[in-house]
């Protein structure tokens, strides 16, 4: 700092300040510019056109989590694939290593993808991807009044 | 004189190894029979016989290898008690010479015969396997005494022999007399063993080793030179080796022999020991164990000074005469033989005392044979009478000679053996006892001849008197048992008989061995190979005949024998009514063995009791009371301490315990809470840590 150089943390700090400033600037200008005429319809929460009911902190079915996890897994895989693709066939590196670079990079990434694929296969074979429907067991209603009473009643109505 | 080479280890040769096997065989028999005694049953006897046979074979083999040929010695260091640089080693080893192998063969042979005899004699005993096991233990210990080269180990085996003797005398421990006799034998032996222990200590203090060879050699060197020094590992050690020391050592060693060989004044245990099984009496209390004392004396003979020899001859002669006299009035067949054994052992000790050592050892051997024969024959008589008793249902005392008579018609083989062995015992010409006993009497006469004092003639006179009495009581015994009319209880339809080869075979062997023809010239003891070989073992290779050329000694002995025999035949052979008639106090004296038991009771046992009860009273009234007082005061003190303990110490402990519990509860409390609060707590503690340590 003394020497006028910015340290690594300084850069992070600058990013933070920049981010806050950017958001604050947008909100502030909008606030300044926009007209402000609220009504009840406008103030309700938007939820796919439905009326919001109860609290948002409700329990979700765990089956969603499995799907979400698998989804995130492959998203992360993709995230890894992009930077890999940029250096995979780097000419300079290939020359430096005498061609080994490409081979190793390919093997590593294939291994990575295969492991993830195996995971998916495992889930599939074990049946974790099946959407298990709850099997509702209908409740039998046992009336304190015997059935004969009903039939008699019906007969009498006839 | 350096000690170290004298007790240096020696290699284990083929012969010494064989000797070790002979030693260990009976032990194996003891262990196997002892552990499997409930499973083996009748097999036990045959197993013991087999082991005995193998042992005898090996012993004979050793005898052939060693006799008059060479000696073998194996020695190893057992442990050392070195003090600083001074190496003091305890050695142990096996020593084989003429004397050793002779004893070995004798013990093996008699033991085997006794075991065979027992096959029949002990057949109906429920604990027969235990019996053979004890016999094995005895034989092992006896072999140990014979074979080892070291006085300490001889002492160990000596004690083991005492133990096995105790076990065998008390074999029928249900009988009060047997249990008491076993105890008595053990205690009287202990008195002698005390002497042995003292002797060991004195020997160690003088020679710093207990190896017999080394001691003999050192003593020889010490008596040759005036200024004798002993050194071990380069350091000289104190030693005196004066005649006084050696005399006391000799007397202490003799004490051991007095106990084991039943010499005056410790001889009273032997007659009582007859409560054991008769084969045991034959093996242990006639042939082998009681001879161990004589054997020990022969082994350490060079260490004895003139004074010790004098003591030996006096005690020996006294014992011989007393034993013979006590045998006169007995009516129990085994007791007669027991007193006879005491008398003959006295003869042997006397023989050693008058320097007729080879004759004494010769007598040891011949006595072992004919006395074992006599005992087994007596056993046969008792056994057949027991059989008769069981068959006819009558009650009789099978050992009481007063109730016997005319048995020669029923048990002829036993009769023959008894007569042959009896003739051996009285020293009839042509029988083994003649050669050996004549040697001893000759030695005694020669000794008295050389002595300056006229009183020395008492010794040979006592010996000849003993000889006379021996002839008298043995012939009396034969007449009483085998001749005359059959007693009234004998009914013809249940004949008294000796049954089975197991009884007959040992009798035949021992009877035949009583002839003198086996030992060289049948009428001249000087030409016996046995005496010569023994003499070689004791005095070295030059055979020095110690017996003077005087045939009149033999004439004297024969006269005594004839006189005794004639008196007996005169008195009892013609008319049996004499049995109950004798001079009253003499008979009582003889019957009660000079009232020795009563005397010991008055002199030793009663005072001990009085002393003990006095001490007990002192103990109860003075010591106990003060101890009680101390105890009471301690209890009072303890109560005070307990109060302090409860209130102060326990209070502290329970405070700590309470604290632990409280702390644990606290520690657990935030574990039991919800996860969120757990994390919260953890974070709080982290903050605390940061506040404390991060500055």
């Amino acid at each position: 700092m003394i020497h006028g150089e910015v340290s690594e943390f300084g850069i992070i700090l600058l990013f933070l300040i920049g981010g806050i400033f950017f958001v604050a600037f947008g909100l502030l200008t909008a606030r300044l510019i926009r007209p402000k005429r609220p009504n009840i319809e406008k103030l309700t929460t938007y939820e796919s056109g439905e009326d919001p009911l109860g609290t948002a902190w409700s329990q979700f079915n765990t089956r969603f989590y499995i799907i979400a996890l698998v989804f995130i897994l492959f998203e992360v895989e993709l995230v890894f694939l992009f930077p890999w693709a940029t250096v995979y066939a780097d000419q300079e590196l290939m020359e430096l290593t005498g061609g080994k670079w490409g081979m190793i990079a390919l093997v590593e990434m294939v291994a990575f993808v295969i492991i993830l694929a195996l995971g998916l296969v495992y889930l599939w074979v074990k049946g974790f991807l099946n959407w298990e429907r709850p099997m509702p067991t209908g409740k039998q209603y046992y009336s304190p009044i015997p059935k004969i009473a009903y039939s008699k009643f019906i007969k009498r109505r006839k | 004189m350096d000690l170290a080479p004298l007790i240096a280890p020696m290699k284990l040769g083929q012969e010494t190894f064989q000797a070790l096997i002979v030693l260990v065989l009976p032990l194996c028999s003891f262990l196997i029979l002892g552990f499997l005694r409930n499973r083996l049953g009748i097999l036990a006897g045959y197993l013991a016989t087999l082991v005995g046979l193998v042992g005898l074979g090996l012993s004979v083999n050793l005898f052939i290898a060693v006799w008059n040929y060479t000696t073998y010695h194996f020695r190893t260091t057992w442990f050392d008690i070195s003090l600083g640089k001074l190496p003091l080693n305890f050695t142990v080893g096996v020593y084989l010479d003429n004397l050793t192998v002779l004893m070995l063969v004798m013990v093996s042979l008699i033991a085997l015969l006794v075991i065979i005899f027992s096959l029949a004699y002990m057949k109906d005993d429920p604990q027969v396997a235990k019996y053979y096991a004890f016999l094995g233990l005895f034989q092992f210990s006896m072999m140990g005494i014979i074979l080892v080269d070291n006085l300490l180990f001889i002492f160990i085996f000596w004690e083991l022999v005492g133990l096995s003797s105790y076990l065998l005398i008390g074999f029928w421990y249900q009988k009060t007399s047997a249990a008491l006799a076993a105890k008595k034998a053990f205690l009287f032996n202990k008195v002698g063993d005390l002497g042995f222990m003292i002797a060991l200590m004195m020997l160690w203090s003088q020679f710093y080793t207990l190896d017999i060879d080394a001691i003999k050699f050192l003593w020889q060197q010490a008596s040759l030179s005036d200024r004798f020094t002993l050194s071990a590992g380069g350091l000289s050690v104190w030693t005196d080796m004066s005649d006084t020391w050696m005399t006391w050592i000799g007397i202490a060693l003799f004490c051991a022999a007095v106990g084991k060989s039943a010499q005056f004044p410790l001889q009273v245990w032997l007659p009582d020991a007859m409560a054991g099984p008769t084969p045991v009496s034959a093996l242990i209390h006639a042939a082998t164990m009681v001879a161990a004392g004589v054997y020990l004396l022969a082994r350490v003979l060079p260490l004895f000074t003139v004074d010790v020899m004098l003591v030996l001859s006096i005690i020996g002669a006294l014992t011989a005469l007393m034993g013979a006299f006590a045998a006169l009035a007995q009516s129990d067949i085994k007791k007669i033989l027991a007193y006879s054994t005491i008398s003959q052992l006295g003869m042997m000790v006397m023989g050693i005392g008058v320097y007729a050592v080879e004759a004494a050892v010769f007598h040891l051997f011949t006595h072992a044979v004919f006395k074992a024969g006599l005992f087994l024959a007596a056993g046969s008589v008792i056994h057949s009478l027991h059989q008769y008793e069981a068959a006819s249902g009558q009650h009789l005392d099978a050992q009481d000679t007063d109730q016997m008579g005319g048995l020669r018609k029923f048990i002829p083989l036993t009769f023959l053996t008894f007569v042959l062995c009896g003739l051996g015992l009285i020293g009839f010409p042509g029988f083994s006892g003649f050669l050996s006993k004549e040697g001893i009497i000759e030695g005694a006469i020669a000794w008295a001849n050389n002595a300056d004092v006229f009183a020395a003639w008492l010794i040979p006179v006592m010996a000849i008197l003993t000889s006379l009495l021996t002839a008298f009581y043995i012939i009396k015994l034969i007449i009483k048992v085998f001749f005359g009319k059959s007693p009234q209880w004998l009914v013809d339809d249940h004949p008294v008989r000796e049954k089975g080869w197991a009884i007959k075979f040992p009798l035949v062997v021992l009877g035949l061995l009583s002839f003198s023809i086996w030992y060289g010239h049948p009428f001249d003891g000087h030409q016996s190979w046995l005496g010569e070989g023994v003499s070689r073992a004791i005095f070295g290779n030059e055979f020095v005949p110690t017996i003077i050329e005087g045939k009149w000694s033999m004439v004297l002995a024969l006269l005594a024998l004839l006189a005794g025999g004639t008196m007996a035949i005169m008195k009892y052979g013609v008319d049996r009514s004499y049995f109950t008639e004798t001079v009253h106090w003499l008979k009582s004296m003889s019957y009660h063995n000079f009232h020795l038991d009563a005397i010991y009771m008055i002199i030793f046992i009663r005072p001990s009791y009085y002393l003990a009860s006095a001490i007990t009273r002192f103990d109860q009234h003075v010591l106990d009371r003060s101890v009680n007082l101390l105890g009471i005061s301690q209890v009072v003190f303890a109560h005070i301490i307990a109060w302090i303990d409860r209130t102060v110490v326990d209070g502290l402990v329970s405070l700590v315990a309470k604290f632990s519990q409280w702390f644990g509860a606290l520690f657990r409390w935030f574990v039991h809470s919800r996860v969120q609060s757990k994390i919260l707590w953890a974070v709080l503690f982290v903050v605390l840590i940061i506040l404390i340590w991060i500055r």
Binding site: L93, L96 | G664, F667, R668, V671, V686, W693
Partner: protein
Amino acid sequence: MEIQSNILDPIFSLSQDLNYFRPELVLLICLFVCFFADLLIKKNKGLWLSSLAISGVLAYLWFSYTQFIGLEEEVYFMSDLMRLERSIVFVKLIFGVTTLGAIILAIKTKWIQIPLSHTGEYYFMLIALLLGSVLLPMANNWLVFFLLMEFLSITGYIITSFNRDKSSYEGAIKYLLFGAAASAIMLYGISLIYGMTGSMSIGDLANGMELDSGLLSLGLLFVLLGIFFKIALFPMHVWLPSAYQGAPSSGIVLLSVAPKVAALLFLWHLTSIIELGKIGFDLLPMFQWQQMIGILAIITMLGANAAALWQTNVKRLLAWSSVGHGGFMLAGVLTLSAFGQSTLLFYASVYALMNMGAFLLVLLIKKRTQNEEDINAFRGLASLHPFLGVLVTLLMLSFIGLPPTGGFMAKFLLFSAIWDTYQQSGEPIYIWVFAAGLFSSVISLFYYMKIPYLMYFKPLNSKDPKLVSLKSLDYLMMFLIVVALMVLFFKANWLMNILNSLNFAL
């Protein structure tokens, strides 16, 4: 291009580097074989999988052994991402044997309530846990370290949940949540360290010390907290009792030993680097980590042993005992001497053995009473199984640290190492640790002896209809373990000689 060529180093030395990974590669192969076997095999699945797992671990043990013989000094490889020294290879052997024990327990105890369809996963997870544990002490890079910590944690969560019942899930979720928090803290600590030193290499830690910054200390503290979470040291121990109560016994055999010892060994590496870094500076910029760890160890030992006094559930009791033993071993880390490390590893070996025995006992008792974990299930058991009674008594003596067992030698050596360090440094914290260790051993006497007490002095609950009687074959393994513990007492030299020859950095 200087940096780039540095990055490329592992490419050239790949085959050589892989040599150092032989045991781990064997485990990896075993892992995949188990994985496929689980998917493909339909008949006799349990038999196949267990034999595959056992043969894999045996092969791993063999390779570790050859590595142990071949390795002479500390080596760095994979561009200094990893390091290896003989003490690490030694714990590989311990872990391998423990895993073997865990697998055998899992096979032997068929009454364990894991559905057959999950058995493959179970062995898979055990081996994965082993893999993570053997790799963790080898880490020489913060990122690798973090990855392995996560690897260990995740396998741990899964193993904890394997009993598939309420308490199992409860334990697992507590473990997961707490672990996630710990990971977050640790990751933050690592980022702070990176910020202060500008390097991901652990060895470069000393570079940051000259700055004399509280931030580096804070970062280190956060990392330490992550490690404490693995060792279950106060204040990061709270997840442990519930997790152990829920987890399958055979799993805890490994779970309570391997990650704990691995983290301790890593901590050893870290603290020795801190000490090395300190040497260059006159003032002591780093916080007094000995003092902090010492006090935490004291609290852990006393607290855990006191808390165990209250337990009536055997598994919870053993969980608290495990926390306590973690505290003891941490005291070993404090010594930071060659002898101290020997004693620490000795303690770890003995602890692994004892733990195996204890959870075998839990399984036996669960078999006998059909899933009863209460301590009262031991009542009067000695009258039915006197031999088991003797074994259990010996085992508990070992836990307390009384002769004639390896537990005594372990505590004795550890305490003497602490005492030595106290003599040399004269810092009072060591004497306090020493005293607390002794005191908590005394406390532990009460709850460990409760089991033999119940077995011998209380009448049998014979009315319980569910009781299944045990066969002597059931506790053969227990017998072997107890014999091994006795051997470690009577021939402690055998192990100590090996440990003393480990050629330590310090």
